[in-house]
């Protein structure tokens, strides 16, 4: 599988020096939901470590919650100052905005989980053939 001249399947993760320290994506996603917004950086790190076929898309999806988080904070702050919304109402809007960020991160998580399972499966196969 590591032979560069062998036919490569498009969904197979490429070798990565960080692969050994890649974490289970479920754990990473759960951690990200508890430590917002910086926890989403863990998903970015895991995308690089797993080096799956959709790595760049995963990185972009995991970074998407940041502008949503800080952007919504800024916008809601202005809206509350202008008196359009009360602080209590702004809280509901903020939760909705974080939900949108979660959707993006969840897509990254699903993609990483697929790569993680495939990497584990391929390692098992290599273990059997060795």
């Amino acid at each position: 599988m590591t032979d560069p001249f062998r036919y490569r399947l498009i969904d197979e993760p490429r070798p990565s020096p960080l692969a050994r320290i890649a974490l289970p994506p479920t754990l990473v996603f759960l951690a990200a939901t508890f430590f917002q917004p910086w926890g989403f950086l863990l998903i970015v790190f895991n995308a690089i470590a797993l080096n799956g076929p959709f790595r760049n898309r995963e990185i972009l999806l995991a970074l998407a919650p940041f502008p949503i988080y800080f952007g919504s904070l800024e916008i809601l702050d202005r809206v509350v100052r202008a008196g359009t919304l009360t602080v209590a109402q702004a809280h509901y809007w903020f939760v909705g905005a974080i939900g949108i960020g979660f959707v993006a991160a969840a897509f990254a998580y699903v993609s990483q989980e697929r790569t993680f399972q495939l990497r584990r499966y391929l390692e098992q196969l290599r273990g059997y053939s060795a």
Binding site: L9, D11, H91, F102, V103, L118
Partner: protein
């Protein structure tokens, strides 16, 4: 050329035996030597479909079609990969293209019947199934599909008739055993359903319907497990994107409920109770997944240890 031919023949023999995982390496050998071998690309796509590696399967099936656009079989493989990725309309378009290329292809009509059934178009599915039966009257696969269609309609007499017809052709046919297992499950005979599920798995170890029957049988025995099973089936039916929106939607509703309880002046404990319920739901979902996987693996191990396997 001789080496490629032997590797391809070996891979196809492994595929016929249901050993799709082992067929991948010989196919990779063929494609390393000759990347323009359409048949090898198609076989590889079929193996990847069976392993649920759908992005890879789609890529390989498209490569096969690009090399030989007139082969209807390759379009059916692509349709399977697209369908399993929830791209039902595109999958149906590929099946229609396959039928246009080869109007008497029973497998294409059968696939069309399956896709239309899953789309909820019963009349279209029945018409395609009738055409498939016309082209291949004694085919166990076509009869099995009529059984699955009856199962979806809740017509248990139809399921039994189809199951028995399939088993009369081949008493160890996995689809026939699965249909009879589904029937036993509907009649609350979980022991018989379990026996049939294990029988089907010993014939087709990678069959998703057999694994699904096995898990459903195990889940029927426990209330909590059954609840998780239904929740999981709902997520699968919704597909990846909708399932993500549903799960995130539940989180948003939970957070809004906590805020609403605070704004309504309810005691602090209300928010705590809501958080505990939400956390219990998360823990239950994750742990049930682990427990079900272990239970299914344990049963599969029983199949593998059976000397007749």
């Amino acid at each position: 050329m001789n080496f490629e031919y032997r590797a391809l023949t070996r891979a196809e023999a492994l595929m016929r035996a249901g050993n799709f995982a082992s067929a991948v390496e010989p196919l990779r050998d063929v494609l390393t030597a000759d990347p323009e071998n359409a048949r090898a690309h198609d076989c590889l796509a079929q193996c990847l479909v069976m392993q649920n590696r759908l992005a890879g399967a789609e890529h390989e099936a498209r490569a096969a079609i690009a090399l030989d656009p007139l082969a209807s079989r390759y379009r059916l493989t692509l349709a399977s990969a697209l369908h399993l990725q929830q791209h039902r309309r595109r999958a149906l378009a590929e099946v229609d293209a396959a039928i246009e290329l080869d109007p008497d292809n029973a497998a294409a009509h059968l696939t069309r019947a399956q896709l239309l059934r899953l789309k909820g178009d019963r009349s279209g599915s029945t018409a395609s199934l009738a055409r498939a039966l016309e082209l291949a009257p004694g085919s166990a696969e076509v009869l099995a599909e009529s059984g699955y269609a009856a199962l979806e309609r809740g017509d248990m007499a139809g399921v039994e008739a189809a199951g028995r017809a399939v088993l009369s052709i081949n008493p160890s046919n996995a689809d026939g055993l699965i249909l009879m297992g589904r029937l036993s499950l509907a009649r609350h005979d979980t022991d018989e359903a379990l026996r049939l599920a294990l029988g089907a798995l010993s014939q087709a170890p990678t069959d998703v319907d057999a694994l699904s029957l096995l898990a459903a049988t195990k889940m029927k025995k426990s209330w909590l497990g059954g609840l998780w099973w239904r929740w999981n089936q709902l997520l699968i039916r919704l597909g990846e994107s909708r399932a993500i929106f549903l799960v995130v939607g539940i989180w948003v509703i939970y957070r809004w409920s906590v805020l609403a309880s605070r704004d309504a002046g309810l005691p602090e404990a209300t928010g705590t109770v809501l958080s505990v319920v939400y956390l219990a739901f998360v823990v239950y979902t994750i742990s049930a997944n682990v427990i079900v996987t272990r239970m299914v693996r344990k049963e599969i191990e029983r199949v593998r240890l059976n000397p007749r396997f």
